[in-house]
């Protein structure tokens, strides 16, 4: 018998069922049925809970599978939390329920498989983890593997392994070099564990947090910087919860570091005569509140920066969040296309983002749509402007 913490329980009951989240939900937008909406899911959860927050095991056995499908047909983009009438931390609820479903082995098959892959190979691609730094050879990047350094660049699985976005790592390394940072890569970086948290495998994620923190602390780094919003959330917010203590280093997203270089005058990027638009990754913008920094960087590069429809806290998901791509690739593609069309309707020359998953998704969409629009990460844009790559 599982008992939800009091706060979570009260949150479910505090839902006004006003439906303000319904229309905003990017997956409901395509699915259309009430059970696909945050409001519908909260109502269903309420029905699963008895007094005192106990989960009705009988109901869970009967309806657990269909509930699980709904819970995982979600990008965890957090828009529902943003518009919530009664200020419920809906995102926390989705994660908590995933955890319960995981413990009951009610999560979709693909999610179980992913969790096994990560535990086995320490990355999301089932690759030999030794090849995690092969991107260095492929991109001829100039990188360091030091025993002690001020800064650790935590690359993350997608940037390390996915050929489409490995150049983000190359670009960011070159910027760190040009800034004369005392930096290093981890000799044995593991998946940050965020995909495990999204799967519901909290206990499993803890092992990954322990390993990565141990590695970083052994280097004595004061700062860890990552270009991946998922890794950023893991390092900054999930690790303290998983480990029960705050690790002894500061965590930054690459856009924060880049912005600090620019505002302090350490980095001057020549202006480019291009029209740029920016897609706020959900986990970076709405969820982590890093909205201004990437904009300040971009506005220092171009005079024609165009905001797309739905930006900042209201940005809509590219479809790659919440493991949706794994669970329902067709739906994820629909989301990607919708967002991509909104971004291209700005008529910008380049679509910029600050997340390897978003960049990878939109690059793929651009290929499918055959409109040749360029999609890049903010670090790539800067490195190119500085002729570093």
């Amino acid at each position: 018998m599982f008992i939800l913490p009091k706060l979570h329980l009260e949150n479910v009951f505090a839902c006004a069922q006003c439906g303000y989240c319904v229309k905003k939900c990017p997956t409901y937008y395509f699915l259309g049925w009430e059970s696909a909406s945050p409001r519908g899911k909260i109502f269903a959860l309420k029905e699963f809970l008895g007094n005192g927050g106990k989960l009705d095991e009988q109901k869970l056995r009967k309806l657990g599978k269909p509930l699980s499908t709904r819970i995982f047909n979600c990008t965890l983009c957090g828009l529902c939390k943003e518009v919530c009438h009664t200020e419920i931390d809906v995102l926390e609820i989705w994660l908590k329920i995933r955890e319960i479903l995981y413990e009951h082995r009610l999560v979709p098959q693909g999610v179980i498989k992913l969790s096994e892959i990560i535990q086995q190979s320490k990355n999301i691609y089932m690759m030999d983890n030794v090849s995690r730094t092969d991107w260095v050879t492929y991109t001829s990047a100039d990188v360091n593997f030091k025993d002690s350094a001020e800064v650790v660049y935590f690359v993350g699985c997608i940037t390390s392994f996915s050929g489409r976005v490995q150049s983000i790592a190359q670009a960011f390394s070159s910027i760190l070099n040009s800034m004369n940072e005392d930096w290093t890569l981890l000799k044995d970086e593991w998946c940050c564990g965020h995909p495990l948290v999204l799967s519901g495998g909290i206990k499993e994620a803890r092992t990954f947090a322990l390993h990565n923190v141990e590695m970083i602390e052994s280097i004595g780094a004061k700062k860890v910087v990552t270009g991946c919003p998922g890794c950023y959330i893991a390092l900054k917010h999930e690790y303290p919860k998983l480990l029960g203590k705050k690790p002894g280093f500061e965590v930054l997203h690459s856009t924060q570091l880049l912005n600090s270089y620019i505002t302090s005058g350490k980095l001057a990027v020549p202006k480019a005569d291009v029209k740029l638009t920016y897609h706020d990754p959900c986990e970076l913008g709405r969820i982590s509140g890093i909205i201004q920094e990437p904009r300040m960087v971009l506005q220092s590069i171009t005079d024609t920066f165009i905001e797309p429809k739905y930006f900042g806290r209201e940005s809509i998901c590219c479809g790659s969040g919440g493991l949706l791509k794994l669970v329902n690739p067709y739906l994820a593609d629909n989301l990607a296309q919708r967002r991509y069309e909104i971004l291209t309707s700005t008529n910008a020359d380049i679509i910029v983002s600050a997340c390897p998953a978003c960049v990878q998704t939109f690059t793929q969409t651009a290929t499918t749509m055959q409109d040749g629009k360029r999609v890049i990460d903010i670090s790539q844009l800067i490195a190119e402007q500085l002729s570093l790559i």
């Binding site: 006003c18 259309g32 009430e34 509930l67 009664t86």
Partner: protein
């Protein structure tokens, strides 16, 4: 169901168990002990994409005598979208297109499932705006408002929704598609507010108004309700605001979470000079009644938050609410009575008064409670009956009947009830469209639920609530 699936296509129909569960309710929480009285689980949910789809469903419903329950945003709290004897729920939110925009004359035809906020977005780039919209505009639908009260922001200056609709396409219970206006038979005002029992609104043509030069929100704080009320009435006498809403809180359990002051807020619109003059008058009146106007940015924030009227619920975590229309000279008595009831039941209460004219207001009260304590919740629910009893005595009437308020119609609007019954018999002889609501309520086994019995039961609950 096979026939429905054959006619409409699999993708528009669901018989999934979880789906049925989440469609079996609306905004209000059904007390656990009341649920077994009705068959609230639909046999299927259908999401029509065209008016013809709706008509098809109605034809089949007549043929097989299956209830059909129209559903928009499901933001109404009186049980209108809850099945009482199974049937098909028609989720109309997929019918959300803009059908036609006559920019020259400011007429906009939209499908019934269009959400108000989307219409506002659509109008952003034009010179027109909506004269009135509900405070649930972020999720409720145009068809849902036509079927219910039709009073909201802007109604004070521009009239209720009904006054701002030119015509509508409706599907009658027989499945016939007709266009109705002021002169048709049945006409628009007969069908407006019929809570989904007489017809299904498929699309509506809305009258728009030109955007004003300026819209200036205002907000005034007072240390007591009587002063706030007198001030608001004076404002209504000397100015013509777009909206004016009065809020008051009566806290008995906790003192620290929201200021228990009274305040009113609203907005004045028009040309620059006119608005400036009105604002000065407003300032004068507020000062006279020992209140003060808050700075404009604060007032603007309150105005922008105007759709978030249930915020207080998070402290409940449940609410018991009701709404009624009341003569303005009875507002003070009613507010005092709500506080008295709150005190007796030991429940915190928020009261909101939305003025419709100098003489009438829509009053809305929320008692904070906890649905997890099932028996206590059921007993507390009787508080809303006490409020409505008092409102009717004071010359008011419920702002909607649905399932929960049906017992009051005979007392509050007997003639309207007879008229509705007559039209219902004529249009829906098999009683397939949203049966068991508004004019009669039947229990699971088909027995009618006598209003008097229900009333006595609620009084009994209230007695228990007070003594326990």
């Amino acid at each position: 169901m096979n026939e429905v699936i054959n006619k409409l296509g699999q993708e528009y129909v669901s018989v999934d168990l979880l789906e049925k569960l989440v469609y079996s309710h609306d905004l209000a929480v059904l007390p656990k002990f009341v649920k077994p009285l009705f068959d609230t689980t639909p046999v299927a949910i259908v999401r029509p994409k065209t008016t013809e789809h709706i008509a098809e469903i109605m034809r089949l419903a007549n043929e097989y005598r299956i209830p059909v329950i129209p559903r928009g945003g499901a933001t109404w709290g009186f049980g209108g979208t809850i099945p009482v004897k199974g049937g098909i729920i028609l989720d109309l939110t997929g019918l959300n297109r803009i059908v036609h925009f006559d920019e020259k004359n400011g007429l906009l035809t939209v499908e019934c499932g269009a959400v108000w906020e989307d219409i506002m977005h659509f109008l952003r780039e034009t010179r027109w705006k909506l004269p009135t919209y509900p405070s649930s505009a972020l999720s409720s639908t145009v068809g849902g408002w036509a079927a219910t009260g039709g009073i909201g922001y802007g109604s004070l200056k521009y009239g209720p929704f009904l006054k701002n609709v030119v015509k509508a396409t409706v599907v009658l219970p027989s499945g016939r598609i007709v266009v109705v206006d002021d002169k048709s038979n049945p006409n628009l005002s007969q069908l407006f507010g019929s809570e989904g029992i007489l017809c299904i609104f498929a699309d509506l043509t809305l009258k728009l108004i030109p955007k004003s030069d300026v819209e200036v929100p205002f907000m005034a704080n007072f240390s007591n309700f009587a002063n706030a009320l007198m001030s608001a009435q004076e404002v209504l006498r000397l100015t013509s605001p777009h909206s004016l809403v009065l809020k008051a809180f009566g806290f008995v359990r906790t003192k620290d979470y929201v200021e228990s002051d009274t305040y009113f807020f609203g907005c004045v619109d028009g040309n620059r000079y006119e608005v400036y003059k009105q604002y000065l008058t407003l300032d004068n009146i507020v000062n006279r009644y020992r209140g003060y106007l808050v700075p404009e940015d604060e007032a603007r924030r309150e105005w922008e938050e105007r759709f978030y009227t249930l915020k207080i619920k998070k402290w409940g975590p449940s609410i018991l609410g009701n709404e009624f229309i009341i003569p303005t000279h009875k507002i003070l008595d009613m507010v005092k009575y709500c506080w008295q009831l709150g005190n007796q039941a030991h429940l915190d209460v928020e009261v909101e008064v939305m003025f419709i004219s100098r003489y009438k207001a829509l009053m809305f009260q929320l008692f904070l409670c906890d649905e997890r304590k099932s028996l206590r919740y059921l007993m507390s629910a009787a508080i809303t009956k006490k409020v409505l009893d008092a409102a009717i005595k004071a010359g008011g009437k419920p702002y909607g009947y649905g399932l929960w308020n049906f017992q009051f119609m005979e007392r509050a609007e007997p003639e309207k009830k007879r008229e509705l019954k007559r039209i219902k018999r004529m249009l829906d002889p098999w009683n397939v469209l949203n049966p068991g609501k508004m004019i009669e309520v039947r229990l699971r086994l088909g027995f009618p639920l006598p209003g008097k019995l229900y009333s006595m039961f609620m009084d009994g609950m209230w007695f228990l609530r007070r003594v326990m």
